[in-house]
Symmetry: C2
Subunit: 432 residues, 2 copies
Amino acid sequence: MDKVKVALVGFGTIGSGTARLLLEEGPRVARAARRKIELAYVVDTDLTRKRNVTLPKGLLSNDYDRVLADPEVKVVIELVGGTVEAKTIILRALESGKDVVTANKALLATHGPALFQRARELGRTIAFEASVGGGIPLIAAIGQSLATDRIELIEAILNGTCNFILTQMAEHGLEYADVVAEAQRLGYAEADPTLDVNGSDTTQKLAILAQLAFGAAVDWKEIPRTGIDRLTPADIHSAEQMGYAVRLVATARRGTYGLELFVSPTLVPYGSQLAGVEGAFNGIRIVGEPIGPIFLQGYGAGQRPTSSAVVSDVIDTASGRTAITFAAQGLWSGEGVENVSVRDPGEIPGRFYLRFDVKSQLDAVAEVTRVLKEHGASVDTLVRYDDEADSRRAALVIVTGETAEGNMKAAVKQIEKLPFVRGEAVRCRVGE
Amino acid sequence: MDKVKVALVGFGTIGSGTARLLLEEGPRVARAARRKIELAYVVDTDLTRKRNVTLPKGLLSNDYDRVLADPEVKVVIELVGGTVEAKTIILRALESGKDVVTANKALLATHGPALFQRARELGRTIAFEASVGGGIPLIAAIGQSLATDRIELIEAILNGTCNFILTQMAEHGLEYADVVAEAQRLGYAEADPTLDVNGSDTTQKLAILAQLAFGAAVDWKEIPRTGIDRLTPADIHSAEQMGYAVRLVATARRGTYGLELFVSPTLVPYGSQLAGVEGAFNGIRIVGEPIGPIFLQGYGAGQRPTSSAVVSDVIDTASGRTAITFAAQGLWSGEGVENVSVRDPGEIPGRFYLRFDVKSQLDAVAEVTRVLKEHGASVDTLVRYDDEADSRRAALVIVTGETAEGNMKAAVKQIEKLPFVRGEAVRCRVGE
């Protein structure tokens, strides 16, 4: 049986899980790859921290050059994260004739075009199943199994931290900050969860899916994005009253005027598949032609599920499947059969949930609805919740009729300037 | 760009959909396969029936020999169905140096070992994504993406006809026969739906998954199987009262004493993923280590979803991915790292739902529970439903504690012989 040496760079949580899987499941991995996969190097700057795997002596070092100089190493697994160092690690691997496996969504969403271009020039490959949806095999599903299909819609919950926070807030009526603390304690949220809760992580993943499913090249920073960090238990309760659960949803929707991409807390109807995604799970709904709707759910993060996806990429790369897939997909090459244009974010239509905290006064409702109307947004539902602790204060909760993202943004900005409005509004989208 | 000729044998519902997709989505298919896929032959015995696709002149014939004699044909798509003619078609294709794509679960569940052995001897491949779960890419998910994982459990709804019938009965309180007629009118059920409703189709699919996920070689006829054809609206209503929906579930569960395989109408708790699978959909829940639980849902049958899976197999085969996967999996070769032994069906434990139609008499309940107890089955719930039309008749609905399949079978047989019991019992399993 042939043997392939692989090197792992980045010995953190996912790195430890990946090392363990490669060391403990050798026969299973070898069978699937039809060759022995030998974990030959583990590289990290931190050589002393305790991890939950014991490496054979001599495997761990901080010397990446040694990996690059070893011609028997065919695959480099990049699990460093971030967009600077990781980029260098990957480029150097490619230039040393090694294929790459990565779980790094921030990197692909930022430097995907340059990295994939370089890999193509060098006749090498990059595999990235673990970058979106953790263990859920959605990159394989969209990129291979659904290659025949014209994808019309992707609606997905892609951040387990946010989903855990939202479902905990709903279940226990807890404040956002308290749930974040609990999530950190359980290891579901990072010490600094900013990139999760402000929607950046989800948006980066959406940018990758937009390229994979639609051939759309988009800078993730240009995708309209709203996080969950301003939601209160009152918002979740109001949504419940109207028959909705609140989820952070990434949407890619093929429309007449181009691909509509956005990330927003979204009111999803009870009984819908996305409402059924609870806790730290991810879920992705894909509608394609001729396949119809399909739905995938699983753990979107965490050491063990993610390491399953990483090792499955190692198997695909070592066995030669990735080379075929990588060449066929031509990602970020602009040469696919589909290069769907992206619609101007300001024009993307939708219905919106809004909450304004106001000082109680007679004309508050009239004023707010007037501004909405001026921006083309009708009011489908309006409920005033008086503040129980302070009778001079209230919250106005509004669900609008369909209007464009840009109009809604402008209307909210103008309403926030009204003298009786306190602080910033909360804005969600309303799903179907 | 290279070109690969493919031939389609069996121009029925799925065949027409596949032909249409290959003809209409040429550029998309060519890009994914990195070569032009030319539908060069369509073979069927019926040359006159109207189909919903127009073939180029000269494509359709009843001459399979012409296909076998054309060395440019690299892939034969078998969509004839059944286990006799289809087997010959596939063997002749393999022997003529052609790879095979098939959607034929009955054939694989019956002759899988012989066909795969022959393909290996001849250096050819067989791809079968469309044979289980229609458009849902579950063969790829289990066989490739989850190749690293140790699968512990598969629980799946694999027959859209049965699921449509069960959910319609639940929603409208209709009799089984009426719903079957409606399903036939809508094209969801065959003229003769026996193999669907008696669970054979589901069991054949389970046998394929047992091989793919566990390396277990099992004759599908030896898997314990109960169909849905004896269920009444009263059963579904009773289940609802206890908080369950009824689904036809195929289970493959790794236990201490071997792989437990069974197909049975099953009471699944409301709110569970399987209960959420409605209408003609299929759903599959897989629990693996380290991936954790994942869930896939989509159309498990129908012309368009199934043709998506067939063409995705054609792409994989033409591009070379299937050759890698086929060699690595070694299906039905007995040479996998896992050859999980199958547990004696009679020993498989579970809780059961039973309904006995009885003549009302004082000691009926005592007698029935006595026989159950003698066979080691406790009674967790017992409800007597008096027949509104005939006060001398009643139904006893029982949910048992955990007992073994064999004991339960014997107990039911004995109870059916009691003088006050009318006809055969209804038996379901109770899920968790």
